[in-house]
C-alpha cells in the first residue's frame, strides 16, 4: 500500500519521521519543564532533587500557612480581577470606536495603543515608578491596577479589533433602521456577536496582570507586594521550595484559563 503523501511535493510521512522526531523533542522542551514541577512539588526534599526521597505536601502547607504568601496572593488576584474589568471595558470601547470611525486618526490611535507592547517593560516600569513616587501611588492597589492595565488594554484592543474587522457592521445599520439608537444597537446586536473575542481579551488581561513581574517589582511594595514580586525575591535569595507548590497551582490555573479561552473560541465556530 502506498503511503499517503504529506506534502504537495509528494513526500510521505514515513520519510519525514526524522523531522517529526525532532519537532517532538522541541515540543517536549517547551512543555516538560513546567510539567515536571508538578510532581516535584510533592517532594519531601528541600532541594527538590530527582528522584524525590519521599512524597509530602509540606510545601503546600508552607504556602497556605504563611501570611505573606496569602496576602500576596490576595493582592495579585484582586489586581488581576480589577485589571481585567478595567482593561476589557476601556479596550472594547476603544476598539469599537476606532473601527467605526475609520479616519486617519484611528490608525494613529491604534498605533498608540500598541506602544506599551513595543516599549521595553523595564523602561515602562521605572517611568511609572518615578511618576507614582510624585503622587504617592507606589504600593497601592490602585497604582498596580492602573499600571497593569497599561499592558492589558493593548491586548484587549488588538483582540477585539481583529474580531470587529470580520464582523458585518451592516447589522448595526439595520438595527438602527429598525429604531435602535447607536448604543442600543451595539449592546443588542454587535456585542453578542463579538463576545467571544471580548471574553478572550478579558482572560488575556487577567493572566497578563497575574503574571506581570517587572513593573510589579518596582511599584508593588510593602504589604501590597504581588505574588510575582515575592516569588521573584524568593528565587533570587535562595530557591525556596514553597515556590514549587505555588508554581503547580499557577500552572493549573493557566491550564484552566487557556482551556476556557480555547473552548470559547471553539464554540463560536459551531
Amino acid at each position: 500500500m502506498r503511503a499517503k503523501p504529506a506534502t504537495e511535493t509528494q513526500i510521505t510521512h514515513r520519510r519525514r519521521l526524522w523531522l517529526y522526531a525532532i519537532v517532538g523533542l522541541i515540543v517536549l522542551f517547551l512543555i516538560a519543564p513546567s510539567l515536571l514541577i508538578v510532581p516535584l512539588s510533592f517532594s519531601d526534599s528541600r532541594y527538590l532533587t530527582f528522584p524525590p526521597p519521599a512524597w509530602s505536601t509540606r510545601w503546600y502547607a508552607a504556602y497556605f500557612g504563611a501570611i505573606e504568601w496569602r496576602e500576596a496572593t490576595y493582592v495579585s488576584f484582586a489586581a488581576a480581577m480589577l485589571t481585567m474589568l478595567l482593561s476589557t471595558t476601556l479596550g472594547t470601547l476603544a476598539a469599537y470606536g476606532l473601527q467605526t470611525l475609520r479616519s486617519r486618526w484611528s490608525v494613529l490611535a491604534y498605533g498608540a495603543f500598541t506602544l506599551p507592547l513595543v516599549i521595553p517593560a523595564i523602561l515602562i516600569a521605572i517611568g511609572i515608578f518615578l511618576f507614582y513616587a510624585q503622587l504617592g501611588l507606589n504600593s497601592t492597589l490602585t497604582g498596580i491596577v492602573l499600571a497593569h492595565s497599561v499592558l492589558a488594554i493593548p491586548l484587549v484592543v488588538i483582540t477585539v479589533a481583529a474580531s470587529l474587522n470580520s464582523y458585518d457592521m451592516n447589522q448595526e445599520m439595520v438595527a438602527r433602521s429598525l429604531g435602535a439608537s447607536r448604543p442600543w444597537a451595539f449592546l443588542t446586536v454587535t456585542l453578542p456577536q463579538i463576545r467571544i473575542s471580548v471574553i478572550s481579551g478579558a482572560l488575556l488581561a487577567f493572566i497578563t496582570s497575574l503574571d506581570e513581574v517587572v513593573i510589579s517589582l518596582f511599584i508593588a511594595g510593602g504589604d501590597k507586594a504581588t505574588l510575582t514580586k515575592r516569588m521573584f525575591n524568593a528565587l533570587r535569595d535562595e530557591i525556596d521550595p514553597t515556590i514549587a507548590s505555588i508554581s503547580t497551582l499557577l500552572i493549573a490555573l493557566s491550564v484552566i484559563l487557556l482551556g476556557l479561552s480555547q473552548f470559547a473560541q471553539l464554540r463560536s465556530k459551531k
Binding site: V27, L36, A94, P120, I126, I128, L235, S254, L258
Partner: protein, 306 residues
C-alpha cells in the same frame, strides 16, 4: 446653485455645496458624531498616555539633566567600558537566543502549518501553553532542572555521560536555555501564520516543473515564509534586548544585561540620570529595529490595523 435660506455673508469662500439648506447644521452633526466615536477610545488612550507614555517622555528629559542643568554627561558615561561590555553581552545573548529560536522554531512552525487541522490545533495549544504559564514558574522550573542536583545532571550522570555535575545554571548557559524557552513561542507563532498563508499551488507548481522536494523547499517555500520569519526574528530579538527577569534569575550575577543595569541604577544607586539615559538608548534601539522591520514588510501588517 441656489443658496438656501439662512446663507450669510462670510460664506463666500466656501464651495457651492457647502452653502445650502441645513449645510451648517449637517456639518456640525457630522463633527459631533466623529468626536463621540473617537471619544470612546479616549479613556484608554488617556490611561496609557498619562500612566506610561508621559513618564517616559519625562525620563527622556531627565536623561539630559543633572544637579547643575542640561548635560550630556549621562550619555558620555555610557561609553565607559563596563557599559560597553554590558551592551556587548546583551547583544551577544540576543543574537544567540534568536539564532537558536530560528533553528528550533522553523521546523516546529513548518510541521504545524502542514499538519491536519486537528493535530495542528493540538500542537498550537502546546505552543501557547508556555505563554499562558507564568514567566516566574518557567524560570523556576529551569532553576530546579538545571541545578547541580537537578534532573538534567542526575540523568546525565546516570547515563554515564558526565563524571561530575555540570554548572548549567547561574551562568550564561542557563540564561540562554531559559531565554530560548521563553522566546520560542514568539518565533513560532508569526512563522506559522506566514506559512499558513503560503498557497500550496506554488509547491505543486514547483514539483510539476521538476524541482526535487528539497529544492522546492529551499527555493520556493523558505523565501515565501520570509515575512513571518522576519517578524519572528525582530520580535524575539527586541524582546531579548530589553529582557530582565530571566537573566536576573538564571544568570546568578554573572550575566549583566542592559535592563539589569537600568534596574541597578534605580534601585541601588538612585541615579535617575544614568538609568534614564540607559533606558533611552534601549528604547531607541528597539524602535529602530522595529522601524526597519516595518519598512521591510509594511506597517499595516505590524500593527494589524485594517
Amino acid at each position: 446653485m441656489a443658496a438656501g435660506v439662512g446663507s450669510t455673508i462670510g460664506t463666500d469662500n466656501l464651495a457651492p455645496h457647502q452653502v445650502g439648506r441645513n449645510a451648517a447644521a449637517l456639518r456640525a452633526q457630522e463633527r459631533a458624531e466623529q468626536w463621540m466615536l473617537g471619544g470612546l477610545a479616549l479613556p484608554g488612550l488617556l490611561l496609557i498616555g498619562i500612566v506610561a507614555l508621559a513618564p517616559i517622555v519625562w525620563l527622556f528629559w531627565l536623561s539630559f539633566r543633572d544637579a547643575d542643568g542640561m548635560t550630556l554627561a549621562h550619555y558620555a558615561r555610557l561609553l565607559h567600558p563596563s557599559y560597553v561590555i554590558t551592551l556587548a553581552s546583551t547583544f551577544e545573548l540576543s543574537f544567540l537566543v534568536t539564532s537558536i529560536c530560528i533553528l528550533l522554531g522553523y521546523p516546529l512552525a513548518y510541521v504545524i502549518a502542514q499538519a491536519r487541522p486537528r493535530i495542528a490545533a493540538v500542537l498550537l495549544l502546546l505552543v501557547l501553553f508556555p505563554i499562558w504559564t507564568s514567566l516566574l514558574v518557567r524560570c523556576y522550573a529551569w532553576l530546579v532542572l538545571l541545578q547541580r542536583r537537578g534532573l538534567i545532571n542526575t540523568w546525565l550522570s546516570e547515563l554515564g555521560l558526565i563524571d561530575g555535575p555540570l554548572q548549567l545554571v547561574h551562568n550564561f548557559t542557563g540564561t540562554t536555555i531559559g531565554m530560548v524557552h521563553i522566546m520560542l513561542p514568539f518565533m513560532v507563532l508569526p512563522l506559522y501564520a506566514s506559512m499558513r498563508a503560503i498557497n500550496p499551488d506554488y509547491m505543486r507548481a514547483a514539483a510539476n516543473l521538476g524541482a526535487s522536494p528539497a529544492k522546492a523547499f529551499w527555493q520556493i517555500y523558505v523565501p515565501l515564509s520570509r515575512p513571518g520569519l522576519a517578524a519572528g526574528i525582530v520580535i524575539v530579538f527586541v524582546l531579548c534586548l530589553g529582557f530582565y527577569v530571566t537573566p536576573a534569575l538564571l544568570g546568578g550575577g554573572r550575566v549583566m544585561m542592559w535592563s539589569m543595569q537600568i534596574e541597578r541604577n534605580v534601585s541601588y544607586y538612585g541615579d535617575w540620570g544614568a538609568a534614564s539615559a540607559l533606558g533611552v538608548v534601549l528604547l531607541v534601539l528597539t524602535l529602530g529595529i522595529l522601524w526597519l522591520l516595518a519598512r521591510v514588510i509594511g506597517f499595516d501588517k505590524l500593527t494589524g490595523a485594517r
